[in-house]
């Protein structure tokens, strides 16, 4: 009984904190922060104790409260508890908790300190809701709530027009994907008559053709939601702009957790995706990974490089889902949460030290002055690049291995090539921003961040290092393919080489090429040598392949045109013609009739007599 209530408590604690901060403690900065941090840290501890007590597959696997019943449609508010959701809860509360603590240091001078923590707690609540939802409606509601909190946090510095615009852009772009998502949900409900994941899975297992010819369409519509939330091509444009938010937000929401929600959702409803849909998903993922990696090469803003790298890594995860490999996808999601959060927090530490400077060409020479940031950033860079034995190596290799297992060689090549690009742009960033000589005055006078920011870096650094061999992959595998727990450490260390040695070696080769290319080009560079070598292609990469401009010229132009037409219809047809005539007619009648009301007693009396005379005539006069 008590243990069944724990997940509910974990879910609602952050909401409580958010409400308490908003209503009572907005003026007390420290209390607000402690409430928010307390809620998520307690959540983390409770999650661990829940897993310790019940294992990864607790019984009952669902904890349900009936929410509403409309005719045949019954919507529950339920929590689904299995290895997948419990692991995600650990990530959300664990990585989230560390970032909460880091925020305490990072945001300390900010005027909206309490508001910031209220939004963070709201986000934690929504994200836990997405993770725990046991049906589509609940998932969708939390999905939107996550979008709202993301909007609030991107627009935290709403006085800056760029931040306000970025917040709107993120929200609206997500709405595009969510529209398809909602259509997909409705389609699934219409065809299968249920929204509960467990029920849906049972129905589809019993009758795989239940969705009939609509199977691919429904699956792809649902995938639309993931395209928006996980920033896949062609809706990837919002994520780099989302970097307008505070850096810890970028770390938590736009790197570690929220953008992973799309991948998580796909893994949750994997049984709905048929072969055709998976094929499309895999290619979109692969294409996004490659595209974003290419763009990242020519960015100069430290946060934007990391943002494109996030899109690229999300592309990997989506590709893994598309290759029918939820285990590698979730594995990479987990390790990515560790090292990408660490990268962002490290970047934040550098940005603070340089007084809001984000251009990597104005950094440099940070090694001796910012020891903790330097070393943790290096670990995260190695992990992201996929250098063994860091965590990213294992997860990325498992995705490449999945591509080989499925015999999808084109995607394997895309993945391996992207891995090389990843190593290239990450070491470009690392060489330019951290090594060499200090490139500006500000970079010479940096100081290490305070302990409240340094310790989160250390903690995440440890996990970014060992995340690949602590049994994350096996935990997911236990859910998706029924493999056993308890692989010994030595075995998981060499697992990639045993599983598919050729793929692993090719991957490492690409990574090495990327690393040495970056080392040659950027070791002592003071400006980017690449534009001179690549010419127009580099310009295109720098300008993000003109996606924003293309959308500006097509989608937004078309939208403006439709809006203008609608405006005309509203203004002239509806307002003027329809409403105008009714209103004008009423007005005219009213004005005319008003003349009758003279207020003169004798006029009334005269009219009254006249009326009586007319009635008398009609009654008697015939």
């Amino acid at each position: 009984m008590k243990s069944e209530l724990l997940p509910w408590l974990i879910l609602f604690l952050p909401l409580l904190a958010a409400v308490a901060i908003t209503l009572f403690t907005l003026r007390h900065r420290t209390v607000s922060a402690l409430l928010s941090i307390g809620a998520i840290v307690i959540g983390f501890v409770l999650t661990i104790s829940f897993i310790a007590a019940n294992g990864w597959t607790p019984t009952p696997a669902e904890s349900v409260a009936n929410w509403l019943t409309i005719g045949d449609l019954q919507v529950d508010f339920g929590l689904k508890l299995d290895a997948l959701s419990l692991m995600m809860m650990l990530i959300v509360t664990g990585v989230g908790g560390v970032i909460h603590i880091y925020s305490f240091g990072y945001m300390h001078e900010d005027r909206g300190f309490s508001r910031y923590f209220a939004c963070l707690s709201l986000f934690t609540f929504s994200m836990l809701g997405v993770v725990l939802a046991n049906n589509f409606i609940e998932l969708f509601i939390f999905w939107e709530l996550v979008g709202v909190s993301s909007y609030l946090l991107i627009g935290h510095w709403f006085e800056r027009p760029s931040a306000a615009d970025a917040a709107k852009k993120a929200f609206i772009t997500n709405r595009l994907g969510d529209f398809g998502f909602l259509l997909g949900i409705l389609m699934v409900w219409g065809l299968l008559g249920s929204l509960n994941f467990t029920v849906l899975q049972i129905k589809l297992t019993a009758n795989p053709a239940a969705l009939g010819g609509m199977a691919s369409i429904a699956a792809l519509l649902i995938f639309c939601g993931a395209v928006g939330k996980s920033a896949q091509f062609p809706l990837h444009v919002w994520l780099p702009d989302a970097m307008e938010g505070p850096t810890p937000v970028s770390a938590l929401i736009h790197a570690a957790t929220m953008v992973a929600a799309g991948v998580y959702m796909l893994c949750r409803i994997l049984f709905l995706l048929n072969a055709d849909a998976l094929q499309v998903i895999a290619w979109i993922g692969g294409f996004t990974a490659l595209l974003a990696a290419l763009i990242a090469i020519q960015q100069n803003d430290i946060k934007r490089i990391l943002a494109y790298s996030t899109i690229s890594q999300l592309g990997y995860m989506v590709m893994a889902v598309g290759l029918a490999g939820p285990t590698p996808a979730m594995f990479h999601l987990t390790t990515h949460a560790f090292f990408k959060a660490l990268l962002f927090l490290g970047a934040g530490s550098v940005i603070i030290a340089l007084h809001e400077e984000q251009d990597i060409w104005k950094m440099g020479g940070l090694r001796s002055k910012m020891g903790v940031t330097f070393w943790t950033f290096l670990i995260a860079t190695l992990a992201l690049s996929g250098v063994p034995p860091f965590s990213g190596f294992y997860s990325k290799d498992s995705i490449l291995g999945q591509a080989l297992d499925k015999g999808n060689y084109p995607l394997f090549v895309v993945g391996a090539f992207t891995a090389g690009l990843t190593a290239f742009y990450m070491f470009r960033l690392f060489y330019v921003a951290f090594l060499g000589k200090a490139k500006t005055e500000a970079a010479e006078h940096v100081h290490e961040s305070p302990a409240v920011m340094a310790w989160p870096l250390r903690v995440l650094g440890v996990f970014a290092f060992i995340g690949g061999v602590i049994g994350v992959s096996q935990t997911y595998a236990s859910q998706f393919s029924g493999r056993e727990f308890g692989v010994p450490l030595a075995q998981s260390l060499v697992e990639p080489f045993v599983h598919s040695p050729i793929g692993t070696l090719i991957g490492i080769a690409f990574i090495a090429v990327g690393f040495f290319a970056a080392r040659t080009l950027y070791r002592n560079a003071t400006s980017d040598p690449l534009p001179a070598k690549l010419g127009g292609f580099a310009t295109a990469m720098k300008n993000r392949f003109y996606f924003d401009e293309i959308y500006e010229a097509t989608v937004i132009r078309a939208h403006d045109f439709i809006a203008a037409v609608m405006d005309w219809i509203d203004r002239w047809l509806v307002d003027w013609a329809c409403i105008g005539f009714v209103r004008g007619g009423t007005d005219l009648t009213g004005r005319t009739l008003r003349l009758v009301q003279t207020g003169n007693l004798q006029t009334y009396a005269f009219l009254f007599v006249l009326g009586v005379a007319v009635v008398m005539y009609l009654v008697l006069g015939k």
Binding site: R594, G599, N600, L601, Q602
Partner: protein, 101 residues
């Protein structure tokens, strides 16, 4: 000349018409009020005449009631006019157009 019902009714009609004319055209509230009484009495006259020529006393009984009620009504009405005059210093209907918007 035999005085018949018609004669009484004609007188009654003339009285009523005069009263109505007074109500509609005169501007002083007191005069309007008197004209109103005139109309009332025109109706009384018609009732009495019908009663007499139909050999039925109901009409005369009704007239007694009307006279009684009219006396009370006059008391109330005059009191209202006096109160109005005290408040507004006028008994002229053209000054009393508060009901107009």
């Amino acid at each position: 000349m035999q005085v018949g019902l018609e004669h009484y009714l004609v007188v009654s009609f003339l009285l009523f018409a005069l009263g109505l004319l007074g109500v509609i055209t005169r501007r002083n509230l007191l005069v309007i009020y008197m004209s109103l009484e005139l109309m009332l009495n025109a109706a009384n006259l018609a009732l009495v005449a019908f009663s007499r020529f139909n050999n039925n006393l109901n009409g005369q009984i009704l007239v007694f009631f009307i006279i009684t009620v009219a006396a009370a009504e006059v008391a109330v009405g005059l009191a209202l006019i006096v109160a109005l005059y005290r408040k507004r210093q006028t008994a002229h209907v053209e000054d009393l157009t508060l009901m107009k918007l």
